[in-house]
């Protein structure tokens, strides 16, 4: 954990819109807990997938927790978010109860989308989460549109759009960056560069692997940050979001991170070496932050254990909530294909 | 008690479709009655029964296609009457299982209407393409609708429509001709015959008769061919497997062209024994039936040789193709005025070019030319053969 930049004070606004002023110590514990929630949730999801409770595709966020934690720490509850299929962390941290996320992955009616979306398509109106989107690059134009609507209606919120290094090669990345810059729209583009587009390393997918440098072609401010350092990520996102919120223009932030698990449960992970994974695990965002807290006396064993207990309780509850969930009645199959008459 | 079977109505016929019965179970029939109508590649043919009796059981339903030799009905003698009364007669046994049952083409609407109105779809005449029955047809059959006339003036005038029957006939003729071409090594002989004497004889005969009994030139040709064949019997027979079977009876197949195309060889039985008037009447009946599309089975069976005469407006000469299993075919061109040598001088005479096509497996050129010679002799003294005296 390299600690070059001096920390600004704790965040004025936290993910859940309450004005909380925390001491640095409380703030760091909060960050650790958020990451730990994601880590435990994803580990449990992997276990439940093995037990056939969760089916279909499952893309785990293990290794990238620092990015989601940093990003959601800075956004307000009123900001929009458009994410991808690797969005469990964002869903949890944007305030969707872990039980309803787990139930959604079980396909239960109590899931946040009645079990229709599943792991890749988590939506929540209250959290202003406009989806997990399983089409690589599919969410970018939608984020641009959301920002366009806000600009037209004079709203001061910003729209955060999350995508991977794979999406940067999609035509829609180019089209969306151009539109956002051309129409001066408040879009925060967050690129989670985990070095692999599914099974293809970045050096095989990009002529220019320094993704942040792409933004200059669209006259969009950009920077990159070590995606394994939650403090650094939070700093970078705060700066980026500040530009977007104040200057009402887009910003492109590349978070350089790494996923410790395969692309998805079907992936045999042959395209990278075990050593490379072990090397990156040495910079595990959760473990390195735990050591940092203990070393700097920001936290002691008791605090950490308390967090770990709370989180494991939350996860147990989430699982039992999902287990006891019900199936959506077949009769509702065609519900919501179109709106019932009169719904505005 | 005897079984009435599907007769073979032509050497190449394998099966026929029973179109309709003229009698029902329990009816009395006598020899020669036309018991049913059958459709073959050659067209609709009336089937005669060859014995007296009572129809005790009808086995095949109208519309069914059955192979030659299949039992169509059972004809009992007087006793048959009792037998039938005793056992409860069930519906004629449907032999449909093996053969393809002729599906009635009927639209879904018509089928439902027929059920509703209690109309038997087998009795409904379909006005649609290839006889398909539609709702209006059923309503008409149920008397709910007056017959409708169809406006057709936009159909291109004079456009010939080949019906199914004509197509089948064309196929049958094609099959026979190609078989003949493939298997029969034809040899051809030709000669020109002065017709002056025979035409004059005919004119005198016709002058004595009313128009109804007038003879056409074809009669002279038929009678002279018949007598010439008596002199050269080996041209009158069948080639069976690998040998010639000379036939006792002498039935001349006479080619009759049909108006909308196609050809039927009607069989003039015992052409050598029958009197000219008998032949004229037979010919008249058979040609009228052929052209009306209602030929009888007996009209076209067991010809032993074929004679083609293209008529007075036909081509000069015709080189025919033998109808298997026959071994010869006599072809007459049109009777025309031609230049001929007569007693060393040029003369213009009505004459006919006649050809003989013969099967080289069965006969040789020498028989052929003897036939043409005797044919010529008879045509010079027609009166001799006319009264049947030899």
């Amino acid at each position: 954990m390299n600690r070059k930049t001096k920390r600004t004070s704790g965040s004025k606004k936290t993910g859940n819109n309450k004005m909380t002023v925390r001491s640095e110590r409380e703030h760091d514990l909060h960050l650790f807990k958020q990451m730990w929630r994601i880590r435990q949730f994803e580990e449990k999801a992997a276990e439940l997938y093995g037990k056939m409770k969760i089916r279909g595709f499952l893309h785990l966020y293990i290794g990238e927790e620092a990015v989601a934690t940093g990003v959601t720490e800075v956004l307000t509850g009123d900001d929009n978010m458009v994410a991808t299929y690797r969005e469990h962390g964002y869903a949890l941290l944007r305030g969707i109860p872990s039980g309803s996320v787990m139930a959604e992955m079980y396909g239960k009616k109590e899931g946040c989308c009645l079990g229709r979306g599943g792991s890749m398509h988590l939506f929540d109106v209250n959290a202003r989460l406009f989806g997990g989107n399983a089409i690589v690059g599919g969410g970018l134009p939608v984020a641009v549109g959301l920002a366009l609507a806000d600009k037209m209606q004079g709203n001061d919120r910003i729209t955060c759009c999350i995508f991977g290094d794979g999406a940067v090669a999609e035509g829609e990345f180019h089209e969306s960056m151009n539109l956002a810059s051309l129409w001066e729209l408040p879009v925060l583009f967050i690129c989670e560069n985990n070095l692999y587009a599914m099974g293809t390393a970045i050096r095989f997918t990009h002529a220019v692997t320094d993704l942040a440098s792409r933004a200059v072609a669209y006259n969009v401010q950009s920077s990159f940050v070590d995606g394994m350092d939650v403090i650094a990520v939070e700093e970078a996102v705060r700066k980026a979001a500040g530009v977007v919120r104040k200057e009402r223009v887009p910003y492109f932030l590349e978070c350089r991170t790494y996923r410790f698990r395969a692309h998805s449960m079907f992936d045999s992970d042959r395209y990278r070496s075990k050593d490379e994974i072990e090397e990156w695990k040495k910079r595990d965002p959760v473990e390195t932050f735990r050591e940092f807290l203990l070393k700097n006396k920001h936290a002691d064993k008791k605090d950490i254990n308390k967090i770990e207990k709370e989180v494991s309780g939350e996860i147990e509850e989430a699982v039992s909530f999902a287990e006891s969930g019900t199936w959506e009645p077949i009769e509702d199959l065609t519900k919501y294909v179109y709106s019932e008459k009169g719904v505005k | 008690m005897s079984e009435f079977r599907m007769p073979s109505l032509g050497a190449d016929m394998e099966k026929g479709v029973l179109v309709e019965w003229n009698y029902k179970e329990g009816d009395r029939v006598k020899k020669g009655d036309i018991i049913a109508l059958v459709e073959t590649d050659k067209g609709l043919i009336d089937i005669e029964v060859f014995e007296d009796g009572i129809i005790s059981e009808i086995r095949i339903l109208p519309g069914q296609e059955v192979p030659v030799g299949e039992v169509l009905a059972v004809i009992g003698d007087e006793a048959g009457e009792i037998k039938r009364a005793g056992s409860k007669k069930t519906e004629p046994v449907k032999k449909a299982k093996k053969q393809k049952k002729e599906r009635i083409r009927i639209s879904p609407r018509a089928r439902r209407l027929a059920e509703k109105l209690g109309v038997d779809i087998k009795t409904v005449q379909g006005s649609g393409i290839s006889g398909t029955i539609d709702g209006d047809d059923v309503e008409r059959a149920a008397g709910l609708k007056k017959p409708e006339t169809r406006r057709t003036e936009f159909a291109e005038p004079g456009e010939e429509q080949r019906t199914d029957a004509q197509n089948r006939m064309r196929k049958a003729i094609a099959a026979a001709m190609s078989l003949s071409n493939r298997e029969i090594p034809h040899y051809y002989l030709e000669s020109s015959i002065d017709m002056t004497k025979s035409l004059r004889f005919l004119e005198n005969e016709n002058r004595k008769r009313s128009i109804r009994e007038r003879f056409l030139p074809a009669l002279i040709l038929i009678k002279s061919v018949a007598h010439a064949l008596r002199d050269v019997p080996e041209l009158n027979g069948y080639w069976e497997v690998d040998q010639l079977l000379i036939k006792q009876e002498l039935n001349i197949g006479f080619s009759v062209s049909l108006r909308k195309g196609g050809l039927i060889n009607v069989s003039i039985r015992d052409a050598d024994k029958k009197k000219p008037d008998e032949i004229r009447e037979d010919l008249n009946d058979m040609i009228t039936r052929a052209r009306a599309g209602r030929i009888r089975s007996s009209d076209i069976t067991d010809s032993t040789i074929t004679l083609t005469y293209l008529g007075d407006m036909g081509a000069e000469v015709v080189y025919g193709v033998i109808y298997p299993p026959q071994v010869a075919l006599v072809g007459f061109g049109s009777i025309q005025q031609r230049v001929m040598a007569h007693d060393g001088m040029i003369a213009v005479r009505p004459s006919v070019r006649v050809t003989l096509a013969a099967d080289h497996r069965a006969t040789d050129g020498v028989s052929g030319s003897r036939f043409l010679e005797s044919l010529n002799e008879y045509l010079q003294e027609v009166e001799k053969i006319w009264t049947n005296g030899k």
Partner: protein, 331 residues
């Protein structure tokens, strides 16, 4: 007495609809290629930039996927966008956004997110602009649950469908047959919103039901007139809406005439006419006297040369010949 409407062009009727919508609801805005300064590729939006300003008449770069996606986002964000994709041919670039986002958000989100978006596209061939510009793919879009597909063929529909579509909480695709923009007709002064879920019997008859839409409707009318001289009485139905299909109207018509002919400029295989034919056979089988027939474009990439293109497209002559064969049962 309904006072006589003045003569206007189809494109003018569409423009009037856009103006009315933008005046009535400030959430409505028009976005698309060349809709502002150029006045629209088919001059539909001529003058709208001057009237509403560039905040609400937005020229987009040539990026169909993202400006259609932006339209979806703006609709999610509370606006009522009208996105104009110049022609259906270019909409293939935005098909992912339409199918995987617009049509899917509501259902996949368990009913949380509506996408009240209208997308207008020109469609159809017949103007010698060759294979890549002459597609008629409205039938393909009508395959997608979650969106509505309408095809205004008359002035009343061109004028009236837009407002109803904008009020609909779900995405509506409006296909304007390019060949119709120049056509003229009368439109009454008080013409206004019309429904977007019903077919319309435009000409009643007893011998056969001819189902057509968009570019083929006028051909069906012409054929019906010719055939009336032969004493054949055709019922002509304007589909108006390809999804959801208003079955009741064409099924009851076929129950009267017992014969159906569908005229569709799409390619035969998997076309909207195939779907309609299947539904007639499934639900009006016992009303049929003859198999349902279809006249569609030849299954070829549209050729440039005029004679070839005309040979590929359904023509009045084809309709007349088919109806004569069906009704008069000649070979």
């Amino acid at each position: 007495m309904k006072e006589r409407g003045k003569k206007i062009q189809y494109r003018e009727a569409v423009r009037q609809a856009i103006i009315e919508a933008m005046e009535k609801d400030e959430r409505v805005f028009l976005m698309g290629e060349d809709v502002g300064r150029y006045g629209g590729a088919y001059a539909v939006s001529l003058g709208l930039l001057e009237q509403f300003g560039q905040e609400r008449i937005i020229d987009t770069p040539l990026c169909e996927s993202s400006f259609v996606g932006a339209g979806i986002g703006a609709a999610l964000g509370g606006m009522r966008p009208i996105v104009e994709v110049m022609t259906v041919n270019f909409s293939l670039l935005a098909l992912d956004q339409i199918m995987n986002n617009a049509a899917t958000y509501l259902h996949m989100s368990g009913g949380q997110y509506n996408v009240p978006l209208v997308i207008r596209m020109a469609t159809g061939g017949g103007r010698q602009i060759a294979a890549q510009h002459s597609h008629s793919l409205e039938g393909m879009y009508a395959h997608i649950p979650g969106i509505k597909v309408v095809t205004p063929a008359t002035l009343q529909d061109a004028r009236g469908m837009l407002w109803t579509a904008l009020e609909d909480p779900d995405p509506v695709l409006i296909f304007e047959y390019a060949g119709l923009y120049n056509t003229e007709g009368e439109l009454s002064e008080d013409a206004g919103a019309v429904d977007i879920d019903k077919c319309k019997v435009m000409r009643s008859g007893k011998d056969i039901t001819i189902i057509a839409y968009g570019g083929t409707l006028s051909k069906a009318f012409e054929a019906a007139d010719l055939l009336s001289r032969d004493g054949i009485d055709c019922e002509v139905i304007d589909l108006r809406v390809l999804r959801p299909l208003d079955e009741d109207t064409f099924l009851s018509s076929v129950s009267k005439t017992h014969r159906a002919l569908i005229v569709d400029e799409g390619w035969r295989s998997g076309s909207i006419s195939a779907e309609i034919s299947a539904r007639i056979i499934e639900k009006a089988f016992y009303e049929l006297d003859v198999p349902v027939e279809r006249i569609c474009s030849a299954e070829v990439p549209m050729p440039y040369s005029k004679h070839m293109e005309q040979a590929a497209l359904p023509q009045v002559d084809d309709i007349v010949k088919s109806v004569r064969r069906i009704v008069n049962k000649d070979e």
